[in-house]
């Protein structure tokens, strides 16, 4: 069933009784051409692009909980293409282009809002680093504008320019950066994949990966064994556990990242803003809540909840940067489990097991990557070759020293 404004009106006139389920609830079949483990954003988009780009529709997505139950529904919804290292630049650029057509592609309004993202800087050195980044973005074909202090003040007059510990020197504006409605991305891909014949199987936990003679043959699940010659692991913070089922040890550590939302407020912040002297980034959702976050809690964890020191740090950063938000009240905080890699960049690659593929290491930048990650993972699974915009996301790059370390913090998983 196609969604449109006209359909909303006609259904409304007839009591909204005609809406049908967004996706089927199929029982797992005994065999598929390909299995995607993980029904989050990346897994669902992988399944969608397998069907759409490669005609592979005999595909199952196995999700241990409900669709979109992981980080796709626990992030701060930021969409951007402002990386500067070759390898990352082209990938996120590709992703942003997919975002820009996503509503029409999926026939689902994911509310992608290109309201502009501003990274603030607070020293000459930071400005130089952001200039390098901005130039890389332009060279890639994306957009960037370097703002001086007055330029920032014109856009964000409510920041504290006068009485603050780390004065604002300027900002790098990425006009095409913005936000999207996170859950809608999962649901949009799920509905579109389902429509192309993909089986989305919820409450189906993978308990084992069957490997014979170095080749994957299928998976064991809480709903029985399922055979497949191609299996993709797309499970973010749970990557280590699932990969271990196939005897693999990954360069991944799982960490908590907290995020926060306030009670609804009338429009007051029109951009995505990121502070440069302490992790803090903020935007306002269409519903009116201020959505913001900071850095990891920094210790390995699967608890999906955080502790107070980072909460307080984030709030203190908010108060020094934009003290006008002081009287907004935090309504809810939550934590996601981040698959942190040793250089802060992802992995989309084959594994030493034939037919077993992995897509992980999204650190805390996975949301914006959802379209391109699915696109490239589907390409890899369908063709056996890395997609050209993901060719540096190799599993062995840590061993070889071909790193993609945007933060420059080195092989310590929690620092990216």
């Amino acid at each position: 069933m196609r969604y449109s404004g006209l359909r909303v009106i006609t259904e409304g006139l007839f009591g909204n009784r005609g809406w049908r389920p967004a996706w089927r609830d199929p029982a797992p079949k005994a065999e598929y051409d390909a299995i995607i483990i993980g029904g989050g954003g990346h897994g669902l988009s992988t399944a969608y692009y397998l069907a759409r780009n490669h005609g592979l529709t005999n595909v199952a997505v196995l999700e241990k909980g409900y669709l979109g139950s992981g980080n796709i529904g626990r992030n701060t919804t930021i969409v951007r293409a402002n990386y500067f290292l070759p390898g990352n630049s082209e990938f996120y650029s590709h992703s942003l282009k997919l975002w820009e057509k996503l509503e029409l592609e999926l026939n689902y309004n994911v509310m992608h809002s290109q309201r502009g993202l501003i990274n603030l800087f607070h020293s000459d050195g930071q400005r130089d680093a952001f200039a390098r980044r901005g130039n890389a973005m332009i060279n890639q074909g994306d957009d960037a504008i370097l703002l001086d202090r007055d330029g920032v003040r014109d856009l964000l007059p409510y920041l504290d320019f006068d009485n603050t510990r780390f004065p604002i020197y300027g900002g790098l504006l990425h006009p095409r950066g913005g936000t999207a409605r996170h859950d809608a991305v999962a649901w949009g891909y799920a509905r579109a994949a389902d429509k192309r014949g993909v089986d989305l199987i919820q409450n189906c936990e993978v308990t084992g990966i069957d490997v014979q003679n170095g080749r994957v043959t299928g998976v064991q699940t809480t709903r029985g064994a399922i055979r497949a010659k191609k299996v993709g692991i797309v499970v973010a913070g749970r990557s280590s556990q699932v990969a271990a089922m196939a005897g693999l040890r990954l360069p991944i550590e799982s960490h908590i990242l907290q995020a926060f939302v306030t009670e609804g407020l009338k429009p007051v912040i029109d951009h995505v803003i990121s502070f440069g002297m302490g992790h803090f980034y903020i935007s306002q959702s269409d519903k009116g809540g201020l959505v913001f976050g900071g850095d990891l809690d920094f210790y390995a964890s699967y608890a999906a909840r955080g502790n107070l020191p980072m909460v307080e740090h984030v709030m203190e950063a908010g108060m020094t940067l934009m003290p006008m938000i002081g009287r907004a009240r935090v309504l809810r905080s939550w934590g996601g489990i981040m698959d942190m890699s040793p250089d802060g960049s992802p992995i989309i690659d084959k594994t030493p097991v034939d037919g077993l593929y992995i897509d992980c290491g999204w650190n805390y930048g996975g949301f914006k990557a959802v379209p391109a990650s699915g696109w490239c993972m589907a390409h890899l699974m369908a063709t056996g070759e890395s997609h050209e915009v993901a060719r540096r996301f190799r599993l062995n790059r840590f061993a070889t020293g071909h790193l993609l370390d945007e933060e420059g913090t080195g092989s310590q998983h929690n620092l990216h």
């Binding site: 509310m111 809002s113 400005r127 603050t164 649901w187 009670e263 999906a304 203190e316 108060m319 939550w334």
Partner: protein
């Protein structure tokens, strides 16, 4: 309407407040909600989506409707619960989310379009044309959404954060909490009793007239030095290992006073805790159940008993349990009319003094701005009752929220038709009383005592004698009723305008998991966080999907329990409080000379020292560079990290942490060292001097001082704990000044009274004007350079002394800007170059990795990707024409398209060199060392710079180092 003789308000202290510009009388002790009720104001807010007129639903922090803006002298606080805000003289409140006024809200047109605003409608439309989203649809949606308004002005209010530690934290001071605190207090435990309310007592203050024993218990608690009663304090979050967050409303209930915090965010650390937070009454969904005048039955009791007000003259009640009878009796005892009780249970008991309609339900309510009439269905018949106030009771939900904060899932109790806490969900926490599903007062008292006994046993303390006061012990009888079937909208989540239909539609569309339903409908995501509606919504979902409630499960409650202001949790961060400030001993002297002070990490360092007539920083910087190159300059370098290292294994230790060898360094000499991270990238650089056989002084960069200390601690404790090596930071103990330039030696000689005769990279103890200090001959400028260090107390004096001497020699002070140009001219690197991605190979120092020994980072630096022509290598760049350069520019081969693929490097540092009369840059260029002599295009598209540059060696000035060694 105010009722004589009832309530705990102070009738001797009348106050006046305003709401939407109109002044009203009230008493000290009123909340804004009770004061509005006393003045017969029924309409206080508008709903989120449909802008429906709304009144007051509850008497607590769970209020979904009565959210207002509080207007203070300096700023406005949106989304304040009228049910929590206490009234004081001069309080100004106004309604929110309405335009132009509360009575006439044009956005209420949404209510008429409701059929098209079904759950998730926005996911299905507004997609075309694409560019209309940011331009039209989204701004429209944003303007309509949201509740209160931030003023946009800085919040200059006073806030604080504090720590409290105790043996036992008791959360809630109702009957269970009081008994627990009393028992633990008598046992000698350090107790914190925290309660959200303005006075302790909880439901004892609301259910009826407070019992006499309450005062005695409170007096005893007050008298116990080990018991701390914290009122107006909401425990908002449970965190790991007995840590709790709590918000105290310190000054919000009174006229602002200078320095008195508005709020305090507490971190309470407790060995054990008792959750006695009570229970929340739940509404029943039926058509138009959101009319102003419809209120929770328990809230009616609270308003009557605590504040002496009632919101109507002809009161009706709609319940599925016996609990509402207490409300009815209380009202009637106070002389008020209870027109009828509509009880959904066929076997409901009679109630003397009023009519009970058994097996009946309310199916509709009339009165857009205030309830006038309800329609009741009993069997096949329907009838109407005129009423201006309907009390609802759908049963009670234990306040399990805190038990969920550590991922615990509450347990469904069929008996109570409610979720109850799972035992052990928060380690060390025991739930007691209504929070644990024990609803009678006697049950709460007994449970509080039992919880105290359990907690005291765990603390190794003895339970004292505590006699339980006599109290009612009525059984809790209820027949679940969540939603009355009807054709029109029946509200579940009042605040977010989620109706029974929305939940059913969610299930119909396949959003059947409880999380999908929540996210699709926004159920429970409003300011009340679903406190009033989650369980009913689950029940409706369970019904729609044909599952039981237990199977459907519940969404998770996450901190905070009630919303907490960013200012409270971020107290201290405002303005300069965000991070400590570190000041040099020369700080005042530099400011006296007009130097702008620049943040360098936590330090402040002078940018440059302007002279009369200089109008730009560049003029000052150029002058200072020329001064250093031609005579002598003085600058404060005390921010560099200084680590004192001692022990007979210190040399060996240095060999391990540096790439190059130190153990062979003679006493009295210093050496430049390169330090790698274990992953093979450059961590830091600096000089380390050997002061004596077993005594060394390491210097780090300003930026990496803390990082290096932590790294050294790790290496030492993890890999060589048994070695004879000890180190400690002495950064703060020494003030250190660089003296550089062709006549630096003369200046040092004049200051010391003799010429030191120190070779390049030498170090020695000196006495300077009677003070024991250290002298190093090292240079970051390329000129003959010294660094002289004295104990910090003498720093300012020495700085002024050196400055005066320099000035008599034609020299003077130089700042960070000149320092930067000087080091660029010499090709010296800073963290602009060693930015965490560079290897020793990249900066041309791979030869410094000694092949003769192991060092941290050596193995990883040998990975194939860490060296080779594909890597970007440090080069110098000099424009072919007289052009400005910018750091952050990228490098391209001439003729290449400006694409990512063709970018072959970037610029890290630039400066104008008055020495060479040209801009100079350092940067990284792919295979750069082999490309010296090439012409390359430097392009900064952000700033429109496009300059051809010569690729050179990074050392522009005095490449052979003659001046250094002079």
């Amino acid at each position: 309407m105010r009722i004589d003789g009832k309530g705990r308000i102070d009738r001797t202290r009348p106050v006046t407040f305003t709401f939407d510009g109109k002044a009203y009388p009230a008493y000290r002790g009123d909340t804004l909600a009770s004061a509005l009720i006393a003045n017969d104001v029924r309409l206080v807010g508008r709903s989120f989506k449909y802008h429906r007129p709304r009144g007051i639903l509850t008497a607590g922090s769970e209020e979904p409707n009565a959210l207002v803006e509080i207007v203070g002298p300096a700023n406005v606080t949106p989304n304040t619960r009228a049910t929590v805000q206490e009234v004081f003289e001069g309080l100004v409140a106004r309604s929110q989310n309405r335009w132009p006024s509360l009575g006439l809200d044009l956005m209420a047109v949404n209510d008429l379009a409701a059929p098209f605003f079904s759950a998730g409608f926005y996911y299905k439309t507004f997609m075309w044309p694409r560019r209309f989203w940011e331009g039209l649809y989204e701004p429209m949606i944003r303007r309509a959404a949201g509740l209160g308004r931030l003023s946009g002005r800085h919040d200059e209010g006073v806030y604080e954060k504090a720590w409290a530690h105790c043996d036992l934290l008791v959360i809630g001071s109702g009957p269970a909490g009081l008994m627990a605190a009393l028992a633990a207090g008598r046992a000698g435990a350090d107790v914190i009793l925290a309660d959200e309310g303005a006075e302790p007592g909880g439901r004892l203050l609301s259910d009826g007239d407070a019992p006499a024993w309450l005062g005695e218990v409170l007096a005893e608690l007050e008298s116990l030095p080990n018991v701390r009663v914290m009122t107006r304090t909401t425990v908002t979050g449970a965190y790991d290992d007995g840590t709790f967050g709590a918000l105290e409303r310190v000054g919000l209930h009174r006229r602002p006073r200078p320095n008195l915090p508005r709020e305090c965010f507490w971190r309470i650390v407790a060995r054990r805790s008792i959750l006695a937070a009570g229970a929340l009454e739940r509404p029943i969904a039926f058509q138009n159940n959101d009319r102003p005048g419809i209120m929770m039955a328990g809230a009616l009791s609270a308003y009557l008993n605590r504040y002496g007000v009632v919101p109507g003259k002809a009161i009706t009640l709609f319940a599925n349990n016996d609990g509402a009878r207490q409300t009815a009796r209380g009202l009637m005892a106070a002389g008020l009319t209870v027109s009828a009780i509509i009880d959904s249970r066929e076997d409901a008991p009679d109630e003397p003094g009023t009519t009970v309609h058994k097996g009946a339900v309310v199916i509709d309510a009339k009165g857009r701005h205030g309830l006038t009439e309800i329609t009741v269905r009993k069997g096949a018949g329907e009838f109407r009752i005129a009423t201006d106030c309907l009390g609802l009771s759908g049963g009670w939900n234990p306040s399990v929220h805190l038990t969920c904060h550590l991922n615990g899932r509450p347990r469904w109790s069929d008996d109570l038709a409610a979720f109850v806490p799972s035992e052990g969900a928060v380690p060390g926490m025991v739930a007691a009383g209504a929070a644990n599903g024990s609803f009678s007062t006697h049950g709460c008292l007994a449970a509080g005592l039992a919880a105290a006994a359990q907690s005291l046993a765990a603390l190794g303390m003895t339970v004292p004698e505590v006699a339980l006061p006599a109290a009612e012990d009525a059984p809790y009888r209820l027949s679940p009723l969540w939603a009355v079937p009807g054709r029109k909208r029946a509200w579940l989540d009042f605040a977010n305008d989620v109706t029974v239909k929305d939940v059913a539609l969610s299930a119909q569309e396949g959003y059947r998991s409880v999380e999908h339903m929540k996210r699709y409908t926004t159920q429970g995501m409003a300011p009340d966080q679903g406190k009033n509606s989650n369980v009913a919504a689950l029940a409706v979902l369970a019904d729609a999907t044909g599952r039981g409630i237990a199977e459907t499960g519940t969404t998770t409650f996450r901190p905070p329990y009630t919303p907490v202001s960013i200012a409270a949790m971020g107290a201290g961060g405002r303005a300069e409080g965000f991070a400590p400030q570190r000041f040099l001993t020369s700080d005042q002297a530099s400011r006296d000379r007009g130097a702008p002070m620049i943040e360098a990490g936590l330090w402040y360092r002078p940018g440059y020292f302007p002279k009369p007539g200089e109008t730009t920083w560049r003029q000052a910087c150029d002058r200072e560079v020329v001064m250093v190159r031609s005579s002598v300059g003085v600058t404060d370098v005390s921010t560099l990290g200084k680590i004192d290292i001692q022990g007979k294994d210190a040399g060996r230790f240095l060999d391990l942490v540096y790439t190059n060898t130190f153990s062979t360094l003679p006493v009295g000499r210093a050496r430049y060292g390169l330090m790698l991270r274990e992953d093979g990238h450059v961590l830091d650089d600096g000089t380390t001097a050997r002061l004596a056989e077993d005594h060394w002084l390491m210097t780090t960069t300003t930026a990496a001082a803390g990082l290096v200390m932590r790294h050294l601690d790790f290496v030492q404790q993890a890999f060589c704990a048994g070695w004879d090596v000890r180190f400690i930071s002495v950064t703060e103990a020494w003030a250190q000044f660089a003296v550089a330039g062709p006549v630096a030696r003369d200046l040092i000689a004049s200051a010391l009274g003799h010429t030191p005769g120190l070779p390049f990279m030498g170090c020695m103890d000196v006495t300077i004007q009677g003070v024991a200090g250290r002298l190093f001959r090292i240079s970051f400028s390329g000129e003959e350079g010294y660094e002289i260090a004295v104990p910090t107390r003498f720093g300012e004096a020495l700085f002024r002394d050196l400055t005066a001497r320099a000035e008599t020699m034609g020299g003077g002070l130089y700042g960070m800007e000149a320092l930067n140009v000087l080091r660029i001219e010499k090709g010296f690197i800073t963290h602009a170059e060693i930015h965490g991605r560079t290897t020793a190979f990249d900066i041309g120092m791979d030869k410094m990795i000694s092949p003769k020994k192991d060092c941290i980072g050596k193995a990883a630096a040998a990975r194939p990707g860490m060296t080779g022509p594909e890597r970007e290598q440090l080069v110098g760049l000099k424009p072919l024409t007289d052009s400005a350069l910018t750091a952050g520019a990228h490098l391209f081969a001439q003729g290449a398209d400006l694409t990512r693929e063709n970018s072959s490097g970037y610029v890290t540092s630039v400066g104008y060199s008055p020495t060479l009369g040209s801009f100079l840059a350092l940067g990284f260029l792919r295979n750069g060392r082999a490309r010296q002599g090439e012409t390359i295009r430097l392009v900064d598209r952000l700033r429109g710079v496009d300059v051809l540059c010569l690729v050179t060696d990074p050392v522009f000035h005095d490449p052979t180092g003659e001046k250094l060694r002079a």
